[in-house]
């Protein structure tokens, strides 16, 4: 049976097609996991809240920083559902506006880390040899640093801002995806269809693009879903230390930083932003659990 380049291309193209079919089946299986579905719903609510914050917030100007000193540290009431902060600003509005940097740091960091790390790992795993060694040594070194510490150090060096915080956290995150992708690529490399493609002369990069990456994507996506929660946590930690979004712009982390000083007088100021972080992180973790269970054939068994 002779195979030509056309046939292999078609078969390879169906690798992506096969991926999409697989994703549809996964979605159907995921729907059965109630916790995952609820988590996804809550996440969507948060995302919508972030997008439509200006319309939803009862006091948008206070959310952006306008002080209201006469109502300093008021407990939750009819006019201020979650109370006011140290400058009398409405906590609810600031939480709504704060969801923007807090959520986006999580999503962008993980997205970027995946985009940078996965192809790098796929190349390392597939190419092998010195390229593999070099990439993996660099990865190992980055992974030797405690992530939070590294992020704080880089962020401080670059200057405190939202963008720099995002950059520094991404720099600590990408190695995980490289490692993951490399492991997958190494095991895929041995499979016959790859050897066949190589034998008929398909160039390395095409093989990586058409065969390796789609197969590597699935575990990466599972990891990414869970990671978004952790990235949000790390982002808020950076803001808490003063290295993220700067006041008067609202961010869940920097709200807690200020709240720390006032918590005996205004505990609500400390409780609610933290609760928001907890809720988002929990939902991403539960969603990630659900996605991982769906992909793990063992848990589809009975019992």
């Amino acid at each position: 049976m002779t195979m030509n380049h056309e046939e292999t291309s078609r078969q390879a193209q169906s690798a992506w097609g096969a991926r999409f079919l697989e994703y549809r089946l996964m979605w159907r299986a995921l729907r059965r996991d109630r916790l995952a579905v609820i988590s996804l719903a809550i996440i969507l609510v948060f995302v919508l809240a972030a997008v439509f914050a200006p319309s939803l917030a009862p006091y948008p100007d206070q959310a952006l920083g306008k002080a209201n000193l006469s109502e300093k540290l008021d407990p939750p009431s009819a006019t201020h559902l979650l109370g006011t902060d140290d400058l009398g600003r409405d906590v609810l509005s600031r939480i709504l506006y704060g969801s923007r940097p807090s959520l986006s740091i999580g999503i962008f960091v993980v997205g970027l880390a995946m985009i940078i790390g996965t192809p790098l790992g796929a190349i390392a795993g597939y190419a092998g040899g010195w390229l593999d060694q070099v990439i993996m040594r660099i990865t190992d070194i980055f992974l030797s640093f405690p992530a939070l510490l590294l992020a704080i150090a880089i962020s401080a060096a670059l200057g405190a801002s939202f963008f720099n915080a995002m950059l520094s956290i991404t720099l600590t995150w990408w190695p995980w995806y490289t490692r993951l992708a490399r492991a997958q690529a190494v095991s895929l490399k041995e499979q016959t269809f790859i050897e066949a493609s190589r034998a008929i002369g398909v160039p390395g990069f095409t093989i990586i693009r058409r065969h390796i990456i789609p197969n590597v994507l699935t575990p990466a996506l599972v990891q990414a879903t869970m990671d978004i929660g952790s990235a949000v946590l790390m982002g808020s930690a950076l803001s808490f230390v003063g290295l993220g979004v700067q006041l008067p712009r609202a961010d869940w982390g920097n709200m807690l930083n200020v709240a720390r000083l006032y918590f005996s007088d205004g505990p609500w100021f400390a409780i609610f932003p933290g609760l928001a972080i907890l809720l988002i992180a929990m939902c991403f973790n539960l969603l990630g659990d659900g996605v991982r269970d769906v992909l793990d054939p063992q848990s589809r068994r009975t019992g």
Binding site: S144, L149, L233, A237, R260, P267, I271, G274, L278, N285
Partner: protein, 340 residues
Amino acid sequence: MAKAEYIIRRLLLAFLVLVGVSIITFVIARMVPSDPVALYVGPRAKPEAREAARVKLGLDRPLHQQYLRYMGEVLSGDFGISVRSRRPIIDDLKVFLPATLELVLLSMIFTLVIGIPLGVLSAAFKDTWVDHFSRIFAVINVSMPVFWLALLLQLLFVRQLDLLPVGGRISRDIAILSPIEPVTGFYLVDTALAGNWSAFRDALRHLILPSIALASYAIGLSIRMTRATMVEVLQQKYITAAWAAGLTRRTVYFKLALKNAIVPTLMVLSLSFVWQVSGAMLVEIVFLWPGLGTYLVNAILTIDFPIVVSVALIVTVFYVFSNLFVDVLQAVIDPRVSLE
């Protein structure tokens, strides 16, 4: 012997990694966009004083020489001088490092004692209320911002119930009336050694809240990890064979299955050890704990980069060694590990 070979290779790798780490730390610290000389001598210094400062700080040499000089000093115990306070960093480290370590070690003990057994029980009683409670507890712990938990604990135990002190390592009265002789820098150890029980109790009261807050993430992580690995192990045929031999539940879960599940759990613990060292930073801020974290954060905000480099280096060294420890432990426990 394949195993010894493996261990030696891991040691060499760790050493290489340490070198790489020190270089990167050094480079990052140098990236700081500010003038350490100006910070050192003040804005109104004369050019000669500035030049002298440059030489003293070694900034006139090319970068790689600066690095080598720095590493030489570090290895002989000299971590340089704080740009702000002019004090030798090593003196500060002697106080702050044990403070953080004591916190982290206590929190690791909590993790081992609470996290692992809960994970085992969760897997053993899979899908019962024990399992559900454990899993919810674990997810909450893993998703909680640690500084928020610290604040909540303070709110509850300090403000509302007035049971525990608000911060610091030791109360002022104790510090005056029964001062602690610094031997190791670990207050619990030093007070026990001296028989200073009132100070011991006081130190413990100060330690409890911060270490619980710090332990939360690691506890959640170990419950999840242990449960997942145990569930997988419990499905193995050798566990069925153990049941078929009439072995008791305690033997099967805690002697047989746990040994097979322990390695991934230990890996998670080592990862969380590092996390706890960085998380300690956040907890220290809330509890006004005079440790490495507060030291580092202040240094960062005041751009005192010799301190930043030193602390980053030390913490990372701990990380590398704890990873190494787990790898070696795995080689010891699992007879199948030899070449990888």
